[in-house]
Symmetry: D3
Subunit: 239 residues, 6 copies
């Protein structure tokens, strides 16, 4: 099975980091290809970055048809709906994946994300998926995405402090880490705080395996109907 | 990996049927044990049957600690919350599993279940999971659970007719089959109607593999806190 | 008029306590029978206890057909839906009763219950009844159910402190006491805090009188349709 | 016990009709006083009539302090919130009363009211009480309020037809009659259609007895805080 | 264009204040007529005052048909629905106007109003308009309406303090001032706190110009159907 | 005042059409500039087209800073959130504008849009704005966007038929036309069906004038915080 894992920002070191996390969760026999677009924002922090990464993200999916499932490895689930029009292979966002799993192992979870500017987009997604009823609160740790890549930053500390508050103030029973770049921290933080801490990258890889394993395809009726062939050719001219 | 699949009703032929469906979805290396309680209702159709199957269902989980995940193979997701208190292994209901997957391959799905008396319990679950926003309608086909086991019944026909209505009237983009006993019909109905048709048993097995594969555990904080040991001993005396 | 008041746990002293509270609210001419099942959990604190008390609770209803209404005297409203399938006499949960009344004398109320593990089940009920919009917050006092029976515990103090917080932080205009065992404390706490404090047992008795007085019956259509006679005979064999 | 039943419109024959229905539900020892304001609309059909009946309704409450509970006998629950500021005796709207009871004997109910212009106000109330989740649909029968008073009108027929549709199309398990003037029709329509049919007047009387019997008072904190004495004196000058 | 701005309370100095604010927002060519009823409450603080101001408010609209739009200049949007039955000219409440604009320049706003007793009515309106999802919190500053008119009161200080809390605790991105009497404070508070601060009077005037400019009329179908002519004549006899 | 009206698709004839509609609603002294991106989809029908139009849309806003407000003239409100990060001038979507106005002249409205594939995106927006509670139904007329430009198509007829159904089946009190290309049809359809029919382009122009007239700015706190200057320079290099 081949899973295409797309980091929609253009920071290659983050793509490597995500690829490794994805591989760590993959079953034997699952092939992970982690890629990122060439053009677009270096990090995705809020609505504007999301919007400007879409063309690169979607073209990456279009140019890589040879896969069994697609993972969008940005916690905003950037372009999820558009991607589902473009291919009928399962497309899974890492935010979505973590929310679905968290709602099956806890009554209520909190999300700990990067910057305050990202919070409304995540709340918006949760409402759209229906899972906002299961989310106690979306918290920002005021850690910038690329800070997570810097050795010596106190990112882990800030995130841990926010988890402590989520347990004390929100009665959160589980934590979802709200950024692809936090992929490596989950196990350690779970041990420290004594509750499940979910990372979206590993969750999404496992969901992708599950859905591809069942032969599931995205519906072609209604909102995910594929764009007409000529429109597609106009948008992504061959070459 | 060992998955305990529990049919909470006492009809052994249905347990066999469910076990086969589960096995068909299992990855190589996954061991499926399909069981049912000895005492309790022969079919689960509505609130009363659900309630009366709980003691048997929970005792079955208690007596089978040697597994990596538990699937509750009744579409009402009977006893899901209670089971999550009893074990920290992932516990997945087949209704829940199908709803989560359906919401990732369609904007809106409809459920086709057995009798009208089961509809409110399913709507209640959907609301509780948060996924009712993604469900266009829960429809009854007026097929009794055990009728699904009878060769020569026109169960398949009634279900297919109801799927037709779901597409025409609800603008459903995918269909969830609302009974464990419908497990074998999904592929065929999907082909007939040209949209994804999900069966909860196979969905739940794949989710169980995914969650156990990630080493996920149900939270022990808050609502799923385990009962104190002495209470457990009082309820399930050894022997 | 005869009202069957069922304490679904097996602690007889608590049943006495509940019976006295019920009697204090009953009109002249109303006969209160307070009973508890023989087998099952000694207290109901969370989902698991709820589930394990259901068989005893429902059998108690089945064996006591000679009544005009049934009160389920556990604040989780254990087995309410199943009970409504089993009899068409009005069945009222004490949680439900208190919520309905509280919503008619305040814009917003808070609930003060026992342990944190019970909170999600109560929130779930409130959502199901629709009344969560009227509930500011469900608070736990960290008083165990049986502690309420112990003279010398500081249960009352903890509950009062939590009521103070509900007024200050939640802008609660009324308080609902979230456990049948708190039945005796309402009047005193209301005087202390200067707002209505509702106890579910007395509320439910009055609702039961009102509904039986109007000759109301639970609907037999849809979700509360009675189980077929042969199923009932199989589940509750005569004797 | 004294219950003040106020018909907020000025049609005395309707007040008589309502008074008789109220009396039929009252317990021995309950005294019913049915009154209506002298000035204001002759029937209440929609937002404008509601608004213009408020001054008369509230003055009636102010001039009749000698009662144990107040029933507002218009299905729009006209002025309910304002009335609760004016007195701390329980104030119950007949719409509200019927909705609360209906939600305890059915999973879902439909309302059959008079004119289409009244539907949004009722939906608004249901949403406000939280009970819209339990209401399948508010239906108009296109019977004007005062037509209900006219012998020989085909009002009963139109209402019955609408109940038939509510069962067939909405899967309603119970029916709420949406006008005080329908008070006498409930028993007969229930027998005809085989499901509970609730009339708000009798429901409200029983709720009033229950609440007054428990000594319940409306909260004086927050939204129902009483107007300052001098404001009251300015609005309702003595005499 | 003529806009009728009605202050539904009877305090003429406040009407002047509102009229000036309205004029400050009006386009050249827009004529503002600010009026108040002769009879009714001197300030509107909560449900009772709202109810008692309705007759005066509606009569004022009825007696002033020569206008292109109506603004109801009380933040409770007193009588909005009834007014829309009475005229098909656009009728805009100042609360409503501010909420709609705030939801187009922020993800989430908080409201800072006068007294705690007014909070539930505002929450109720927000829910009814659908915009409660966009409101982080309705806060009371414990400033009485008429205190806003008194030079030397520390009203501004209390309001500013509450805005500070809204930013810190609610993550509010914009503030809506919850009283017509706060009309003059918005610009100054916006500068102080560095976020948009909206005043309903100016918002409503601009919305009224926009709607009248487009020739919009309130629907005459359904809930806003006009009262029959004879009913109107009975309620507002000529003279 | 200068309003930048952006048609996010690349069909210039449609931009002309939109520009004319915008001009027809503009006040004297308002300057309308109607533009479209050079690259991107020729029509926007569903999630994929929306996503692929974003880069062009946002660059257009970036390159045209000299305006007082921006109107996004696609009924999906394409890129609304991202645009609000890019400029603090008011940005108004035509869908949003029509929904807000419709909710102030009716209790409930229905939307009549182009193709079924666009329906979920509109429902999603309505939920996000909070206004879904006011929308009875989103209907597709199965008229493609560019068909609206073709003389001789039966587009008007199909749209009119759908409006008829909205009145009869949804009890809609007003209609919102769900495509920028329908701008010219509103007045005529309103006359035909006897209820308000709103076109988003004219609504948005008037809202833009109102907001710019008030000097309103989009909040710079939280979700609409502007991207850092260097990120902006990287995305839109000078030239």
């Amino acid at each position: 099975m081949k899973i295409l894992v797309i980091n929609p920002n253009t920071t290659a070191s983050m793509t490597d980091h995500i690829g490794k996390a994805a591989l760590s969760a993959a079953s034997p026999g699952t092939d992970i290809t982690a890629v990122n677009p060439v053009h677009g924002p270096r990090s995705i922090e809020g609505y504007f970055d999301e919007a400007m990464s879409l063309a690169g993200l979607l073209e990456t999916i279009h140019r890589n048809p040879d896969c069994d499932a697609v993972v969008i490895a940005c916690f905003d689930d950037t372009g999820l709906d558009a991607a589902r029009c473009l291919t009928d292979k399962p497309v899974i966002g890492i935010g979505e994946a973590a929310y679905h799993f968290a709602s099956m192992i806890s009554n209520k979870f909190s999300v700990v994300t990067t910057l305050a500017r990202s919070v409304p987009a995540l709340e918006h997604n949760l409402a759209r998926y229906g899972l906002i009823a299961r989310c106690a609160r979306v918290r920002s740790s005021e850690v910038a995405v690329l800070e997570l890549e810097q050795p010596g930053s106190n990112a882990r500390q800030k995130i841990s402090a926010e988890i402590g508050l989520a347990v004390a103030e929100d009665n959160a029973e589980a934590i979802v880490l709200g950024c692809a770049g936090m992929a490596g921290l989950a196990a350690d933080l779970a041990a420290e705080h004594g509750l499940p801490v979910l990372d979206g990258v590993t969750c999404a890889v496992k969901l992708a395996e599950a859905m591809a394993g069942l032969g599931m395809r995205t519906s072609r009726l209604g909102g995910y109907a594929p764009p007409p062939a000529e429109k597609l050719k106009h948008i992504f001219p061959a070459g």
